[in-house]
Symmetry: C2
Subunit: 428 residues, 2 copies
């Protein structure tokens, strides 16, 4: 029979799953330290809920179907919609509210290399807090998660939608909302395409080529925070409202890997203030490792204009690639010791010893097949386990076993009670 998977689907195999768990653990622990409470919103939403974020066009990009009760439903394409719908539907929650989630989601994209239709993201949101302190809190969370994963050298690129809009209105005289959104989308592409491509694309949409070029120039205002602030002030733009206060807060929090970047505005229309993306200088081709910002207009779309919102989300696959790129594979089985035995009558004693080691927290594998010693050792060797303990009749009578170091090949006979301490010494 056909043992394949639907197109774009995949199994997350053990070597990748270990790293997924590593990312999950780092995220969970950071949420605990910063007081974000984790939850998981429903994986299936009414289609109308999913459309509230992104319009009816979203149908083209998601898994949706009619359920047996005749309702139009869709699998979630991110965690932000579910968390926001949850908060919007509950008037009993006290604000500000810091929520986080780590789970999988679905998108009906055309599958590409290393990109699937099912994938994991982490997501952190603060509801009901309007000031930049909340944006800073989100950025602190991100910064700590990356540091904990050995990715402390990533760069957090911060932009501000309000400054970009102010530039468009005040400096370029654009006032129509549609044109402003269109130019913000052009600005969002500044890091991904050449200026000429973008000018051509947006001239085709009826925008003045010179305007598009000036927008691209604005997007190049980026780099060290103080320099960017001076450049913006020279342009006569207001940076006191948000950006400089955010930078002060990040400084208090000792977050140093931050640049300002006017080219960062994020693609989606619903962002309303501070926005940011995180890039890994070691793997620039990977694109943004995470992104986020203030999106007060989404709760409003769910009927809660009274609830402010800011947050961030990141894909786990890209983080795994970044970790791998630094040599952090952790792809081994993690088992410390394999308990083998000579002659069947030693099987029960081997089992007892394994159980004891496991009780002490030592990752222990045990012969389950009743094979001869040679086959047991071959199997142990193929799993790359660092130690094998051999339970043999003569040594056992003296209360001893043989410990074999599988790296050096050395064997020694030692009392059973000393095995745990010896194998626990090697690093995990």
């Amino acid at each position: 029979m056909d043992l394949g998977l639907p197109r774009g689907m995949r199994d997350i195999e053990p070597d990748d799953y270990i790293l997924l768990q590593k990312v999950r653990d780092a995220f969970s622990e950071t949420c605990r330290i910063l007081g974000f409470r984790q939850m998981e919103p429903s994986p299936l939403e009414l289609l109308s809920t999913l459309e509230a974020k992104s319009g009816a066009g979203i149908r083209e990009e998601i898994y949706h179907f009619t359920d047996k009760g005749g309702r139009d439903v869709g699998l979630r394409f991110d965690l932000t919609v579910g968390l926001t719908r949850f908060v919007a539907s509950r008037r009993d929650l006290s604000m500000p509210l810091k929520l986080a989630a780590f789970s999988s989601m679905w998108r009906y994209d055309e599958p590409q290399h290393g990109r699937f239709r099912w994938f994991y993201q982490w997501d952190a949101e603060i509801f009901g807090a309007q000031g930049v302190e909340a944006d800073a809190e989100i950025i602190e969370l991100i910064s700590r998660v990356f540091s904990r994963l050995g990715l402390g050298d990533v760069k957090i690129q911060v932009g501000d939608r309000r400054v970009a809009e102010e530039f468009l209105r005040k400096k370029l005289g654009i006032s129509e909302t549609d044109a402003i959104l269109e130019l913000l989308r052009a600005l969002d592409k500044a890091s991904k395409k050449s200026e000429e491509e973008i000018v051509r694309e947006y001239s085709g949409k009826g925008l003045d080529a010179n305007v598009v070029r000036r927008v691209m120039d604005f997007g190049m205002i980026r780099g060290e925070a103080d320099k960017v602030l001076s450049a913006l002030e020279k342009e006569g733009l207001d940076t006191q409202g948000n950006l400089s206060r955010l930078l002060d807060s990040l400084k208090s929090r000792r977050i140093v890997n931050v640049d300002l970047n006017m080219g960062v505005v994020r693609g989606l229309d619903y962002y309303t203030g501070i926005v940011f993306e995180v890039y890994d200088p070691a793997t620039p081709d990977l694109g943004a490792l995470c992104g986020g910002g203030r999106y007060d207009s989404l709760p409003a779309a769910f009927g809660r204009p009274d609830v402010a919102a800011t947050g961030a989300a990141g894909g786990v696959d890209r983080m795994i690639l970044a970790i791998r790129n630094r040599g952090g594979s952790m792809g081994d089985s993690g088992v410390k010791v394999f308990v083998a035995y000579v002659a069947k009558q030693m099987a029960a004693e081997a089992s007892k010893l394994a159980s004891k080691l496991r009780g002490l927290g030592v990752s222990t594998e045990l012969e389950m097949m009743g094979r001869g010693l040679r086959h047991q050792l071959e199997h142990a060797s193929s799993t790359k386990v660092p130690y094998v303990v051999i339970v043999a009749p003569r040594e056992f009578q003296e209360g001893k076993v043989v410990l074999k170091d599988m790296v050096s090949g050395k064997e020694e006979t030692l009392p059973i009670d000393e095995v745990a301490a010896r194998v626990a010494k090697t690093p995990q």
Copy 2:
């Protein structure tokens, strides 16, 4: 707009999610210790794959739809099918192979109280090992997971399909496969319905009422292992093949909370040997907390009759209920300290102190709203945080802050450097 969810769906809210994570952590750590490697199979399968386990009737019980490429696909209803499909499709894997998974799945049941159409399970399987040592390894995993969660007093009820079939063939003279499967299903219901109900139901299906009664009597052979083995031997049934060797292995592993129960055969047709279910004596109404057994015929259905399989799975919702029933709620926010400040000019110093505490791993909340001290304290009190640190100008000049114990109400002034040690003393 309608902020509801599709029928049978739900959000896993923070108080439940904390316990879900507790179960996940216990499961993950036990997998590490026993050398099970975790992975996650695809959540979406070809419908034909799902039907291979349970027949076309499964369509009535699952979410399935036609994707945009015209393929019939379905959301997974358990993790066993995906893991088995993965192993069956890969001839490069070395056996025996111990795999585990912890994730969510979907069933289109009629929603009942406390039962949803989307839920989490854990799942552990051993492929390629035929003997009872592998069954014992699965039972050891289960036993350790429950112990780690404070549920060490659950009872593991072990049955054996082969003994039940031998009883039907040898003692009752049943030889037709259909009748045998029907009677095994009747036996599986022995703990859930009255004998009279079952006799009525299966007489209606053309089975002899006396035969059904004798099957029910067989199902009552249960209790302490030695007594059950004697009773089976008196009946002239073979217990040497599997059951007594399994019990020996469990004894070596110091697993003591095991009963034999001939009424346990598991509902599904694919089980082929040792089967078991776990019950919580403190919450018997909950039903089985987990179940499993040997199911060599499923890999065979995927074209791999060469691969033996044994495993277990359990629902997380029931485990959470059992933990709650023992008073293990952990429903608090977990935040240790709220850093408040007097007068805006202290905000940055409060932020620095919070950052320092977080760096030391202390779960710390920080005022984000710029409210006055009284409102900050009210908010802190509503979140049930045990400590508040107040950063005030006068004390700060002397390098000190005020630490308020929110339980006793006591306040003391102490050097900033001593805050971390003081609040870290209280248990998590």
